[in-house]
Amino acid sequence: MHIPDGFLAPNTWAPAWVISIGGLWYCLRRVSRVLRDKMVPLMGVMAAFIFAAQMLNFPVASGTSGHLLGGALAAVLLGPYAGAIVIAVVLIVQCLLFQDGGLTALGANIFNMSFIGSMGGYVIYNLIRKMINKNKGVVIGTAVAAWLSVVLASAACAFELAASGVSPLRIVFSAMVLVHMLIGIGEALISVTVVSFVLKTRPDLLYNEEIRHE
């Protein structure tokens, strides 16, 4: 879902840049308050895994592919703010070094995949985790947050494209949301696989706001 240069008009990409810089600044400040030594390598490993996984496009429908975005997955392990920072690092490197996602569109891409993915994904995950007890809540919460965050990100992307005047909202919205309802299934499967593995081997690595706020 990396928006290239040329799709977004300045009326859209400029405010998105401002929001992303402000949002990342807020994330860095929030994380610096709670960051412990043990989270440092985990942030690096999550960035590495998500970067690698984003290269692995899987086929979803006739002539279309999708790949992991990883926002919800990062949030389940790192929390909403460190998760958003990790996704933003991946997006910035992809944009500057690999020509994946435009430079003008970087703010919008960070908003869609890092903020909606990680912060939005965490809100959904946390809601479900509190309703369903134990590991079941973690797994179901991960699945729903992964799927829904991708669909919501695609909806935000559609609004940005429509605001830029490239396509009427009615048309681009349904097209984007429909295909990402499929891609989101892959997102949920990969996220649940990783989270289930961590639950089995190192459950203490999952982000737990109750413990960190003590």
Partner: protein, 93 residues
Amino acid sequence: MNKKEIFLSLLLALSLAFFVSPLASPSPDGLEKVAADKGFIEKEETRPAFLSPVPSYSWPGIDNDTLATGFAGIFGTVLVFGIACGVALIIKR
């Protein structure tokens, strides 16, 4: 995470980036497909090459596509690991 866990998880990420990425689906992703179907794909602008030393995840100068993609993957994976750890170290109180 202890050293062994960090090493093994990095090894997994690097293996995905090197061995699995050449097998990835070459089809357009969701947004590209919508852009093509709805007729705005031609609006895409490509940046000057100096901004992207490794365009399209293909290491320049390697003729073999599989190797070019694999090396680009290794490079990016190591780089984001380093940057994310660096950011975490800097903001850690």
